[in-house]
């Protein structure tokens, strides 16, 4: 993937991807053969009611979960044949995650939380510190480096999580209901932050949400229903606040 192609590059390419949980009578078909392409630089919202398969799809995309069938190519490379360690390397080097529940390490300072992906990337200590500080600054948390999660508000914790996701400059940022635990005003701030990261740093973002308000910030909305993609539309992002 060297050089800058003029045409949009597919970062993510799913074809006929399915995911089945359990077997026999209790079998749940969470994904029933999905085709999806996400190009570099896109900001995609994945929507749908509970149990529609949107979160499962996101977990498969983020290599947090393995599909039962179909092929998933990341930057043209099939992920299906990778083992757990190779998928870990893929997450380490190309992906960033933001979760609904923040998933910060408790009793660990904001700075150390943000440093974590860099530790696994074997970045030397000084450089790690500097990058983590810069990322915290970018999400507007300069001065809170030594705070532990319990000393931060929900919105601030989510900012720390975003800083952790972007500190290793990922190709794609996956956000699973990033505003699910936050109030409206804080949600808007988080969305502004994500939009900025997408537009200024060119990070591809795929975000699961069930709130139309949140989805309206993005430029493409994919709707799921019963394990299938119901619609895939271009969206004119709102620019409120």
């Amino acid at each position: 993937m060297t050089g800058m192609p003029a045409t949009p590059t597919p970062v993510i390419e799913l074809s006929q991807v399915s995911k089945i949980y359990g077997h026999g009578e209790g079998e749940v078909r969470a994904l029933r053969g999905i085709d999806l392409r996400i190009n570099a630089g896109e900001f995609v919202a994945v929507m749908g009611p509970s149990g529609s398969g949107k979160s499962t799809c996101m977990n498969v995309l983020g290599c947090l979960d393995t599909p039962t069938g179909g092929t998933y190519k990341f930057l043209g490379v099939p992920v299906g044949s990778m083992n757990a360690d190779q998928r870990a390397l893929l997450r380490r080097n190309y992906l960033g995650f933001v979760f609904q529940g923040f998933n910060l390490l408790s009793r660990t300072t904001a700075l150390e939380n943000v440093e974590l992906p860099l530790v696994y990337r074997h970045v030397p200590k000084e450089q790690r510190r500097a990058l983590a500080r810069k990322a915290l600054q970018e999400v507007g948390l300069a001065g809170r480096e030594s705070h532990v999660p319990s000393q931060l508000s929900g919105g601030q914790q989510q900012r720390v999580a975003i800083a952790r996701a972007i500190v290793s400059t990922p190709q794609v940022l996956f956000a699973d209901e990033p505003t699910g635990n936050l109030d409206t005003a804080t949600s808007a701030e988080i969305m502004k932050l994500l939009t900025g990261l997408n537009e200024q740093r060119g990070i591809t973002i795929a975000m699961v949400t069930h709130e139309p308000d949140i989805a309206s910030w993005t430029r493409r909305i994919v709707r799921f229903r019963d394990g299938n993609i119901e619609s895939d539309q271009v969206n004119e992002p709102v620019r409120e606040l």
Binding site: L64, D65, A88, R92, F99, N103, V119, Y120, R164
Partner: protein, 403 residues
């Protein structure tokens, strides 16, 4: 990779001070208790063995009566021994190195203003040899003093201290009841016997002196027989029993009215008693080790949920299963090692203090130290590591969703 894992493990220990210290505490208590208990038990065993050694080696005692006797028991009704019995043993039994008769009575010893109630033992010049009991100063009885029943005495360490303090007792005269006698020697200190009796609280006189001037009869209360090196005490014991039955005219089939006791028997009985004691202490300690182990297990298992989600987070941000496992292993090993070392230090210190307080020797049992350390470390590592291993094998999303 290794350096990273160490950083992460130490960071984890540091940020979970409570959990870490509780884990360490479990190991400390387990290891410490076992080491303390076993040290005390082994010290007691060593002490008992040393005490029995002090009584004299290869020694047999001949008492009148049966068993250990008691007031009004068979002992007092059985006829006493005489000097003829002593001579007979000396002359007729092979393998006997020395025989010492004893006759004792309790009396007051007086020197100047000092006054001490003690035990007078009448014997002969063989006594200190039979009991393997050297003099610190002065000399043994001479043959003529023994024969003539001279007014000379040898003091036990306790009597010397009580009557003379720092003064040199040699040549001084002490009074024992109505008898005035000259001090010619002092026995070295033997300390307490295993029965808790002060062995140094005695005054040794020639047997004849005691018989004539104090008890007023010619009885020999008991005899101490020392076997020659390399001679089986069992054989000497059998010969003694045969000779005494003959001399005391005990009919075939009738019970002995005397007892020949081999100190080795007492020694092995005492040793096995303290062994039982040690085992008992070790069992108690093993329970604390187990309780410590359960404590460690609890702490580890309680934190599994939190840790499983943490593992999910780590996997999501790019950790490989092996990164996570190495970190957890280092964490568990570090905690176990910390706890184990603190436990060993505390256990040995407590053991040293206790053995000092009980006046028993301090015996270091490395096997038990290693064993208790290994057990606690194993518990810490197993319960710290295996839940983590299970979590690290999950898909990250399952670990993240762990309830």
């Amino acid at each position: 990779m290794f350096g990273n894992a160490i950083i992460l493990a130490l960071r984890e220990i540091r940020r979970n001070v409570l959990r870490s210290s509780l884990t360490i505490l479990g190991i400390v208590i387990g290891v410490g208790a076992v080491i303390t208990m076993v040290t005390i038990g082994e010290g007691a065993t060593a002490k008992v063995q040393a005490d029995i050694q002090k009584l004299g080696s290869n020694m047999l005692q001949v008492f009148r009566g049966q068993g250990f006797g008691g007031p009004g028991g068979a002992r007092s009704s059985a006829p006493p021994f005489t000097m003829d019995d002593v001579e007979a043993i000396r002359n007729e039994i092979n393998g006997v190195r020395a025989v010492a008769p004893t006759a004792g009575t309790a009396t007051q010893a007086i020197y100047g203003n000092s006054n001490w109630s003690t035990q007078v033992t009448g014997s002969d010049d063989q006594y200190i040899s039979v009991r393997d009991w050297p003099l610190t100063t002065g000399r043994n009885f001479s043959e003529s003093e023994v024969r003539a029943g001279a007014a000379v005495c040898i003091l036990g360490e306790t009597v010397k201290r009580e009557l003379f303090g720092q003064e040199d007792p040699l040549g001084a005269s002490i009074r024992l009841a109505k008898l005035s006698c000259q001090v010619i020697g002092v026995l070295s200190a033997k300390g307490q016997s295993s029965f808790g009796q002060d062995q140094d609280d005695l005054v040794l006189l020639p047997l004849r002196t005691v018989q004539r001037r104090m008890t007023g009869n010619s009885d020999v209360g008991s005899m101490m027989v020392s076997a020659r090196d390399g001679v089986a005490t069992e054989k000497v014991q059998a010969d003694l029993e045969r000779l005494m039955r003959e001399r005391r005219k005990i009919r075939m089939g009738a019970d002995d009215d005397f007892t020949v006791r081999d100190l080795k028997e007492i020694s092995s009985a005492m040793t096995s008693t303290t062994r039982v004691l040690t085992t008992l202490l070790a069992a108690v300690a093993a329970v604390s080790l187990l309780v410590g182990g359960v404590g460690i297990m609890n702490i580890m298992l309680v934190s599994v949920t939190e840790r499983t989600r943490e593992i999910g987070t780590r996997l999501a941000v790019g950790a490989m299963a092996s990164d996570v496992l190495l970190q957890f292993l280092i964490e568990a090993v570090t905690l176990a090692a910390f706890g184990g070392i603190i436990g060993i230090v505390l256990g040995l210190s407590a053991g040293a203090l206790a053995t000092h307080a009980f006046q028993v020797p301090f015996v270091l049992n490395m096997g038990v130290v290693m064993l208790s350390f290994a057990f606690s470390a194993a518990v810490g590592i197993i319960f710290g590591y295996f839940p983590a291993q299970r979590a690290a094998q999950l898909d990250p999303i399952e670990a993240l969703r762990h309830e």
